[in-house]
């Protein structure tokens, strides 16, 4: 299987043109295999949430918590679903023609790309100035949480260590991967607007050299096929029974008090009424 496609330029040079579309199938199959593997594993393993007696104790300690805890504000939810729509539109328009479903995809693709770009720009501003910016990032400080979560996953229910703050570690790692891949497809996609007729910029493929275009197309393709696997994983987790409470929160905005205490560390995700009762 070739990973990259090459061509001979008019000047006789060997130039990159794009990734091999075999990689699309690799990403698709990889995503589906992960889905099967994880689904199989979950048949024999329960997600390690906090034991019920401990939740009862926490609930008594934190009587000030409301029945519903806001998890995603309205604006954040609108952003999420707009971005999801744009991403699915991008994947459908990019890859259906490759699997043989022929339609006029280019215009829909770049328009969906503009929608994605606009939504991401909005998200950056919104997250920077109106949300808890650092709550989604991953860093060395998360190593104890990673260690605890791994131990709980393999059956050590009594494993010490912190529980997640607002976003579980898996969420934050996924966000990191999507951010890297997303910014790469956006940056390369904006450059590629000069290769097609959009009415926004004048078509001019000579703004960059052939090798630079080759790298641009390869990056766009690699990140694009990467998104196939990422989106499969995302939809899979969103639909898993033990994760549905997160999905509902992305629709309705809130989670229950019990869910808040079962899955999160109230000292790491501080919300209204989450402090302990003062005796």
């Amino acid at each position: 299987m070739d990973l990259l496609s090459w061509a001979r330029s008019p000047w006789g040079e060997s130039v990159l043109i794009h990734i091999s579309w075999d990689l699309f199938w690799a990403s698709l199959v990889g995503g589906l295999l992960f889905l099967l593997a994880h689904g199989g594993y979950m048949l024999f393993s329960q997600h390690r949430k906090r034991p019920q007696d401990e939740v009862d104790r926490l609930e008594a300690e934190r009587a000030g918590l409301p029945a519903r805890i806001p998890r995603h504000g309205f604006v954040a939810r609108v952003f999420h679903w707009v971005q999801a729509f744009a991403m699915l539109a991008l994947l459908v328009t990019a890859f259906l023609p490759i699997v043989g479903v022929r339609f006029a995809w280019v215009q829909w693709h770049w328009m969906a790309g503009i929608l994605l770009t606009a939504s991401i720009l909005f998200h950056i501003i919104h997250a920077t100035f109106f949300l808890d910016f650092w709550s989604i990032w991953v860093g060395p400080k998360d190593i104890p949480e990673l260690k605890s979560e791994v131990l709980r996953e393999i059956g050590r229910e009594d494993a010490p260590g912190p529980r997640p703050g607002k976003y579980p570690l898996g969420n934050r790692l996924y966000h990191l991967a999507v951010m890297v891949a997303g910014l790469a497809v956006i940056a390369t996609g904006i450059l590629m607007m000069w290769r097609v007729r959009t009415g926004i910029v004048d078509r001019n493929p000579y703004i960059m050299s052939d090798p630079a275009w080759g790298i641009t197309y390869v990056m766009h393709g690699l990140m694009g096929v990467g998104f196939v696997g990422l989106v499969i994983a995302h939809i899979y987790f969103a639909l898993r029974p033990e994760k549905l409470w997160i999905t509902y929160a992305m629709i309705f905005g809130t989670i229950s008090r019990r869910e808040y205490l079962e899955y999160h560390d109230p000292d790491r995700w501080v919300t209204k009424g989450s402090s302990k009762n003062v005796a």
């Binding site: 001979r8 006029a104 290769r195 004048d202 197309y217």
Partner: protein, 336 residues
Amino acid sequence: MPPIRDVMPAFELFQPGSVTDALGLLDRHGADAWVMAGGMDTFDWLKDRIKKPRVVVDLGNVSELKGIKDAGGGVEIGATTTLTTIANDPLVKERFPLLAQAALIVASPQIRNQGTVGGNVSQDARCWYYRAGWPCYRAGGNICYADTPTAVNREHAIFNADRCVAVNPSDTAPALIALDAEFVIKRGSAERVVPAEQFFIGPAIDITRLTILRPGDLLTAIRIPATWAGKGHYFEKVRDRMVWDFALVNIAASLNTSGSTINDARMVVNGVAATPYRLQAVETFIKGKARDKATADQAADIAVQGAATLRHNAYKVPLMKALVKRAIRGDAEWTS
């Protein structure tokens, strides 16, 4: 290393004697097989070593694919019938002079003697950037060399360009669409019949092909119904020189008239888009109208709506308008 010219690469040659055998070969060799009828498009590709098929299936010995026969007031033309045969056929000349004229004006007498109608409608784009073997979109690359600020694009598209701006070069294709023809395509034991208009594909749908033919498909016949037999026909081709040249723009029109009123029409222009460009808005507009200068002028304006010109092909807009006017008015365009 510079490209090697005029020496064909080695390939395995098959010369089947029947459609069944030809289909069997195409099925067996799939995308490795190259279908050759008259060879007028094939030899350019092979001699320039731009295309290097492993197998060539020469249809020259398949007699079933040759000839013209009456078909209930229309005609059925075998796909490898030569253009000269079509241009001289009494039945075609009597019923569908539009097609006879289109066939008669293709290239040169020698090419018409060898070239076939199936090959003429199936031929590949003539964009020289593409034919030179450059890695353009149509060749599987990621650039259109003809649509750049410095490109030489006098012959290229003014409609429906989608990354690639190459045009369909066929003369008989617009005539067949104007006559509402159907193309018979066989694949293995299956047969499908598609309207001529749907035989062609633009770059928005598939940037590497001009037709719906896939590996394993064989165009076997073209059927023209009686619908437009004996009606008013008009064909005109504008080219840089009067022999052996592709159309800058050509037009084919079938008109059903009562006196000076147009009852129905089909008009198709080629050389302006990657597929023969049917003027449906014009057809709708002129229905029920007088075949006069006012109608022709308005129709010409409608015809070029949506044209997007390149650096060197803006002339195609007034040229196309002139052809539409002439097609509607016929000889009267010259006298009033």
